[in-house]
Symmetry: C2
Subunit: 246 residues, 2 copies
């Protein structure tokens, strides 16, 4: 078990504007976060606008590039994605403060975590959301809710740092379970989907994306441990093996 106590990463999905990446890096460092993971930034990387708008933060914040959210979160145990409240998904929804508390509690037991942010305007896709373990919804004026990316990162990172003093000594109160890293969960889900496709579970092509998302959501919100996922693999293996003659 990893017992190292790490701060959450910030994952930006397909960020469009270099300005916003720079502002996000600056906001991160303001509140002590230094692990920035960029998934397919529109204008590539490095980005001059990002550097200029980071007020020097990009000298310290470590940036890593990924092609997909799955790759960016492969080593992480628990991720929360910022999104408007979703009525079409069964998914835990946190306030920024409670989301930060959840990640504090988890990092205190050595879990690796991240706050995930969708791209400007379009926001996170259903696929992105179903990949993550829960949603953070920032409360805003319903008549004027236009937070930009850098502002969203700022608010969440602020909630994280705020809890630094108040959350001390929570480590001992944690129970012993350890959730599976995203990579192993993905492998499981991919295997499951393949097995299902191979058995014509999805009766039409149209139904496949929605049903796949529903399945992902179901498993990602369960907080499964490594051991439980190994058990699930075993169950699949058993189920797909030929029935023994009795």
């Amino acid at each position: 078990m990893n017992t190292q106590n790490q701060n959450p990463a910030i994952i930006l999905l397909n960020p469009q504007m270099g300005d916003n990446i720079g502002a996000s890096a600056r906001a991160m460092l303001n509140f002590g976060l230094t692990d920035l993971r960029l998934v397919a930034p529109r204008d590539g990387w490095p980005n001059i606008a990002a550097t200029q708008n980071s007020a020097g933060a990009l000298d310290i914040v470590k940036v890593t590039l990924f092609d997909t959210l799955a790759e960016a979160s492969a080593d992480l145990h628990y991720t929360l994605i910022t999104s408007a409240r979703r009525r079409d998904m069964i998914k835990p929804v946190f306030s920024p403060q409670n989301g930060a508390k959840e990640l504090r509690t988890r990092t205190a037991t050595g879990q690796k975590t991240a706050f995930v942010f969708g791209p400007e305007r379009a926001g996170a896709t259903n696929e992105d959301i179903s990949h993550c373990n829960g949603i953070i919804t920032i409360p805003t004026n319903p008549d004027f809710s236009s937070l930009n990316l850098g502002q969203s990162v700022l608010l969440i990172a602020h909630e994280w740092l705020k809890l630094e003093e108040t959350m001390a000594d929570k480590t001992l109160e944690m129970n012993d379970t350890f959730p599976v890293p995203h990579q192993q969960m993905d492998e499981f889900l991919t295997r499951l989907e393949n097995e299902l496709v191979g058995r014509n579970f999805f009766r039409t092509q149209e139904i496949l994306p929605t049903m796949t998302l529903n399945i992902k959501n179901m498993f990602t919100r369960c907080d499964l441990s490594d051991q439980e996922v190994r058990t699930l693999h075993g169950i699949i293996s058993a189920l797909i093996s030929p029935k023994r003659r009795s």
Copy 2:
């Protein structure tokens, strides 16, 4: 007694950049605040950069111009100013969340309140700070604490809106005192200072500013009611009147 339940005003002291005023207005409206008071903005008002950076918020946020903080806060009962922690002043210091709670509690009894922000870079002066009833310090990474004005307003306004649901029904728990508006407090302090100057209380000119600030801080943190200030006036009047012959 004013029993109307009003949101806090945002007071910006000598804001320099129109961009920051626009970002502040936008952040205010994101979290439902609409009373923006500008004290002597450097580039005058209206300001094109502010309008452009407000994402339309300045169509709804009401802007009022003032020459001084005293004028901008004349009708207000309680103000908190954002500043780094001050060891040279005896003044209540709030976290953003507790500062927002304090103002929630007060507005619930009909008090008029504001969050006050000093100018970019220079920050609030000692005089500004001593005028307000308390300080809000935003916790940041000590090695990288460069929040800009719009970001500070965003964080504070977010703390305000967050409490909307959780603070319901606090009205009945309030006690009956009502703090004096700033204007009456200022009149009292000015009178006191004049009386002291006239009596050579400040032995040197150099000592006057510091001692005046200390006196202001002492009174503004006391949460005095109208009645108590009237009593203080009475005390001054009594003290300065000639001693009666016995």
